[in-house]
Symmetry: C2
């Protein structure tokens, strides 16, 4: 098959569409022919050598895709019915999405949401699982809560706004431009904060504090996030774009009876991923199919131009998602 291969591991842009061995599905795995693959910020980190795939995973980049089952290999859905060759599916991956074929643990297959294309499906799998697992399974977001989402204009951010609004939360977002904030507003964000111009902690304090914060910045925002929390608030850190180590004011956290969780999807074991995928399909797919929550694709790029897609994401050009077209459907 063909896949994106990084020619020089110290050169993150050396991504070329090259020959690679076609994967062979192992026990409990399904072989999928990929039509489209979503790009995630984590992919740009992996290209920089910062986010290694879990042991046993291909080192081909790519955390989500959509395509057609080539070999169902006896795998079944959570309800016990078998997957069939030729079915159209989305896949949540630990790696391997930037390729013509991928072998996927069966618990990480999802149906295409009704009415969704391959490109649209590839753009929502990872963000949907990330948003549902963090907002609901970790933070237990409740109707009436105030949620602060950092990077509201990003792939995770735009999706999180919509799911949170569907759940009845009040949503505050940070972003770095008026354009991105306007898109956030169009998806329902209630409080818009340009982090280049305003102090988000001061805004949130004036609004009564955040019951939940979905954070992608880490160290740089740790202190301000704690001060932006409401009583009994929960800070959920899923990214460290602003560094890994930060000073925690435990006294300030205790005064609020606050909690901090740091979570990731990629290194979970198969059972845990299957649990998250099943919950996401159960709860988020109906939102997608009714149109209550939707995809937001900034652009679609041929897979051979993966390096350009990464560059655009890192330059802050992308609102929502960029998707790679891998093969024709």
């Amino acid at each position: 098959m063909k896949a994106i291969i990084q020619q020089n591991l110290s050169e993150p842009t050396s991504l070329t569409w090259s020959d690679a061995p076609t994967p062979v599905p192992g026990d409990g795995e399904v072989l999928v022919r990929i039509v489209a693959a979503g790009v995630n910020r984590a992919d740009t980190l992996q290209a920089k050598g910062h986010y290694p795939p879990p042991t046993g995973t291909t080192d081909i980049i790519g955390l989500e895709a959509a395509g057609v089952i080539e070999d169902a290999h006896g795998a079944c859905r959570p309800d016990g019915t078998p997957w069939a060759d030729g079915e159209k599916v989305g896949v949540l991956l630990s790696g391997g999405g930037y390729a013509e074929y991928v072998a996927v643990p069966s618990g990480q297959l999802v149906p295409m949401p009704k009415g969704y294309s391959f490109v649209e499906t590839a753009s929502v799998v990872e963000v949907a699982c990330t948003v549902w697992s963090n907002l609901m399974m970790t933070a237990e977001l409740t109707a009436g809560d105030t949620l602060l989402i950092h990077g509201g204009g990003g792939g995770v951010g735009l999706f999180a706004i919509q799911v949170a609004k569907a759940l009845g939360a009040r949503v505050a977002v940070t972003a770095g431009s008026a354009e991105k904030l306007e898109v956030c507003r169009s998806y329902g964000a209630d409080i818009l904060i340009n982090y280049r111009e305003e102090d988000f902690a001061a805004v949130l304090k004036a609004e009564g504090g955040a019951d939940v914060i979905l954070d992608i910045i880490g160290a740089k925002y740790l202190d301000k996030n704690v001060s932006a929390l409401a009583k009994d608030g929960h800070l959920v850190i899923i990214g460290m774009q602003g560094g890994v180590k930060g000073e925690l004011n435990i006294g300030a956290l205790l005064a609020k009876r606050g909690s901090i969780s740091a979570t990731g999807l990629r290194y979970r074991d198969r059972a845990d991923k299957a649990r998250i995928v099943a919950a996401t399909v159960e709860h988020v797919w109906p939102m997608l199919e009714s149109g209550q929550v939707t995809h937001h694709i900034d652009r679609v790029v041929p897979v051979a131009d993966a390096a350009a897609a990464h560059a655009a994401l890192l330059a802050g050009e992308i609102t929502g998602k960029v998707v790679l077209q891998v093969t024709e459907d």
Copy 2:
């Protein structure tokens, strides 16, 4: 009435048994004549000016006591039946325990555990609510979990060991002497760590990590606590004996998908305290009445010697609890 009054706010030992106005119960409050009052480390902090009572609370020290209802004032139990004058009760307080009388929100009254004296009851109210709310309501400790308790020989620590064993957990403790560790062992602790001689994080790592940590040290142990956590582990900080601000390695926390909560009982509102008290009576009182969990009273001291009780606690002389005898029963 008589109460312990701090004569000089900059002198933590200037605690004298003096005249003070008898409290008048407000709406939803009950007047209790106190027979015995428990001493908590927080009381020593308050005497040092570090742990101010919540607004609206007496500045008389004392977070727990036991005694006799002097004026039930129309208050009812959670089940709707009225409290009666003359009933023997324990009380969870925001302050005011070192006195002959205290006015208590009715949700913070507890029955005396069957077979318990006033002194014994006064020694368990605060630790039982602390342990139950943190281990169960915050950390959701589960049978088979490994729990690390810092300060296993203290008031909270000895109680936490027993409740955790009753819940089926494996218990590791730290303490500063072989004597205290031996008492921990006698209550069921499985892994004994003298923090003056051993690195608790290394011990816990070798044991597979802690699913839950009940921490009273704060900043000084933050980094080591994170490294002692197991996958999906939960660090619950209830004290800051080792400082307030510490560096958090978010990357290390994320690699474990760990959580940190910092909690306190004293500043919660009445409804929240009533909820915790009710859950504690429901779940912990049967453990006390069956003997599965018991009190551990190091010594009983006349209330006039409160300063000496504080000094003994701060000198590390106390294993378990020290209780003040306030009036005769």
